[in-house]
Amino acid sequence: MKSCDVIVIGSGPGGYVAAIRAAQRGMNTLVIERWEVGGVCLNTGCIPTKALIHAAELYHNIGRAKDFGIDVPAPALNIPNMMKFKDGVVRRNKNGVKTLFKTNGIELVQGEAQVAEPGLVRVGDEEIKAKSIIVATGGAPAQIPGLEFDGKLVIGSTEALKLDRIPKRVAVLGAGALGSEFACIWNAFGAKVTLLELMPTVLPREDEELSEKLKALMKKRGIDVRTGTVVKKLMRKGQTAHLELEGDSPEPLDVDLVLVGIGLKCNSEVVEGIKGIELTKRGGIVVNDKMETGVPGVYAIGDVVDRTWLAHGASAEGIVAAENAAGANKKLDYRVVPACNFTMPELAGVGMTEKKAREAGIDVKVGRFNYIANGRAQTLGEPDGMIKIVGDAKTDEVVGVHILGAQAGELIATGAVAMAMEATADELAHTVYTHPTLAECIKEAAEDYRGESIHTPPRKR
């Protein structure tokens, strides 16, 4: 019987990173993948959606190129070419991961795995022994009664990425990252988009103040954003759907496409029946901060543990699991896990929202700065946005950074590094930043926190 040091089940951003770290630590590593290498992120998640978002932003900017002194005829969408571009990106990334497996000496087995018992994995007819097992099987959309996918009228993100045409009217259910990003993409391409969300703000996990601003910007761009509103009933009428709603904006809707961006479940069937492994409500595998399950030698990471639901969260967990499988005793500190929603404009955050910080009893102090006052933002024609720094007045510790605006996803990295190093607002304010850049907004927000932002008019009290 084949045996190895560690079997990683799943090759998404959690699994493939864990496998490579395990190999780096000298372990004989094997990866089992039942679908596509790279998992959801690479194939039907982060990567392809960002490819489409780039196309959407480009389309939007070409549409206003004359504002910058460039006269172009009205752009036309070539969906097949757009799909070719997206598929090409996915393919290149996937080949990259496969090459990394090869060069690291990691064996890749295609097939559906099942953990037969601790230390033993079955795939197809084969049984493989392993000292450690890292479960990285990810998650999937949960089908909501009444809103089940049919692949044509009611769809999930996977189908949304394969669309051969832009829908005329589309309803997006759920203004989390998925729903909000697709709403922006289709709106940019000319669809009539209605975005429905249960909570009172879009992107409910983000800082309220910024979410509200994003909602206003989305509305300005023509998206019908209806927060505090849910679908009561969906009726299929041939090629269209009629939606009965309830909540703050219950006016019924008729659309050509419904994207369901809510409902998640964890793919934990792989450990079904294994004693000692507990599951969460969503079927997530319960682990401690060392990524250990209740069974020694069995780890779990990524979406299947129902924690961050972020690719980089899965990767960070994968590193911890691999290190521990190799004999270390590492824990993951979840305090600093940034996230970016690639809406238009982007909204990113790290650490606590202002509200959460207050609820935690922190003596909250805030610094803010608006993009409109930033030189670079003006030169880019991207004046909409703001940066907010949330601090603990007792020590000026930075407990949260939130950014709405162009390049928010990139800029948040500064906030993450600052928090990881336990910086105070002083460090952010005293660093010299390049001019003219958007990053200067971080400095200004930190200076505003200290009551001395140069580019904000003084406030009299």
Binding site: G361, V364, V366, G367, R368, A393, K394, T395, D396, E397, M421, E422, A423, T424, D426, E427, D448, Y449, R450, G451, P458, R459, K460, R461
Partner: protein, 448 residues
């Protein structure tokens, strides 16, 4: 050349030390002008020059105890030749510069020591903090003090390698280097500073042994090492003696009584959240409310004068500041003329000055009302001892979310308890109650 001697303050006083020189070498002095202050075992007193001229030589440094009548300085004309100073060396006496630690922070700190009415010129001289083992004067060289100030280092806890255990500049430099070599995150440093914890004594669990916030939070507060099973005798510093004396006097002389109110700080919290142009603490808001209330209640901003009650026009607000080993009360003068921003900014500057030990006599005298806030220490409620010559003191506890009943419904509100201690000779219960009611109203309606 005229000899200035350590005066004998009363028949029973045999020795004294200089607390601080009010003039420096080269200054012109006049007969009768105070040029130094001394600490006897009964009082702190300012001493006058017994001649006109230029202060040519200071022969005795502060904190060194000598027999009374020892020559401490020479006053003469600017160009007079200096006599042989060897004849004055013998007096140096009684102070075998204490062995071991000499921590006195670079500038002396102590609460003011008012002499009621008559008596020698209002001394108000702070006494230096001593930590020497034998209870005798310790020494920190002036260069060491200056170096400590420059490097931002606390002298407390530094062992001196100078003659007799004196802390010299080199000791400060070595300590600072050790501290600078300590790797700690900015938040950890700030926290350690706030809590008075020595970073150099901690172990770090961050990357590369860096000290992180969690390491500081987990550090045990410095506890004095007592002999196992024994009793440690901690010698009295001048500050401790002064605090002991003044607190006893106040409690004895003024009939204290107490009134407590609970203040809903929600409006104040919202107000504060809206102020981002400058740093504004909750304590600043409390001080502001106190000042406004005092303007309306001159009977509370008053003092017992024996044969009358003096109502002072200015609100000179004392702000109690905790120091390592004691406390001091810097005074924000004429607080009623300050805007909220000025009060916050100047108050903060004063407090920092107090913590750096840089207060001058003018900074800690003249109070008419004092506020003491133990909220940061997690205290809900306490009663304070009146800071003479005030007639009242306000003890402020922490702001804490509590369930309250409003119009029959239960809500969660940030509640802060405040207790006024009043001198019943000057302030009657109803007056204090009305004052507190007004204070509460100002805070609850954010009338800043």
């Amino acid at each position: 050349m005229h000899e200035i001697r350590m005066p004998q303050m009363g028949q029973s006083v045999e020795e004294a030390s200089i607390v601080m020189w009010l003039k420096k070498e080269g200054d012109t002095v006049a007969q009768g002008e105070p040029i130094f202050s001394i600490q006897t075992d009964k009082a702190e007193v300012e001493c006058e020059s017994t001649a006109d001229g230029v202060l040519r030589k200071i022969l005795l440094e502060p904190d060194v105890i000598v027999p009374v009548l020892t020559v401490v300085a020479l006053v003469g004309t600017a160009d007079e030749p200096m006599p042989d100073l060897a004849q004055y060396k013998a007096g140096g006496g009684a102070a075998p510069q204490g062995a071991g630690e000499t921590p006195a922070p670079q500038a002396p700190q102590a609460p003011q020591a008012p002499q009621p009415a008559a008596g020698t010129a209002a001394p108000q001289q702070p006494a230096p903090q001593q930590k020497a083992g034998a209870g005798v004067a310790t020494a920190v060289s002036p260069r060491a003090r200056a170096k400590a100030r420059e490097l931002g280092v606390e002298i407390a806890g530094i062992t001196g390698t100078g003659a007799g255990g004196r802390v010299i500049a080199a000791d400060i430099i070595a300590y600072a280097e050790r501290l600078g070599a300590v790797k700690a995150s900015p938040v950890a440093r700030r926290l350690a500073q706030n809590e008075g914890i020595d970073l150099a004594a901690l172990t770090g669990t961050g990357p590369g042994g860096r000290i992180m916030k969690a390491d500081v939070l987990g550090a045990p507060k410095a506890a004095p090492a007592a002999a196992p099973g024994g009793v440690e005798r901690v010698p009295l510093t001048q500050m401790r003696k002064t605090i002991a004396r003044r607190m006893s006097e106040s409690k004895y002389a003024a009939p204290h009584y107490y009134e407590t109110i609970e203040v809903d700080m929600e409006a104040a919290r919202d107000f504060r959240a809206g102020v981002t142009a400058y740093k504004l603490s909750y304590n600043d808001l409390v001080l502001r409310a106190v000042v406004k209330a005092l303007v309306e209640f001159p009977g509370v901003n008053a003092r017992w004068a024996g044969d009358a009650i003096e109502q002072v026009a200015d609100v000179n607000l004392g702000i109690a500041v905790a120091l390592p080993g004691g406390l001091i009360v810097p005074v924000l003068k004429q607080a009623q003329t300050l805007s909220l921003e000025q009060l916050a900014t100047q108050g903060r500057a004063l407090i920092e000055k107090a913590r750096d030990g840089k207060l001058l006599p003018d900074d800690y005298t003249g109070n008419t009302f004092t506020v003491s806030n133990l909220g940061p220490f997690g205290v809900d409620h306490f009663t304070a001892i009146i800071n003479q010559p005030d007639s009242a003191i306000l003890a402020v506890g922490q702001m804490k979310d509590r369930p309250v009943v409003i119009d029959g419904g239960i809500y969660v509100r940030p509640i802060m308890k405040m207790t006024i201690s009043s001198d019943h000779r000057v302030i009657d219960g109803a007056v204090a109650a009305q004052f507190m009611g007004r204070l509460k109203a100002i805070l609850e309606t954010a009338e800043f």
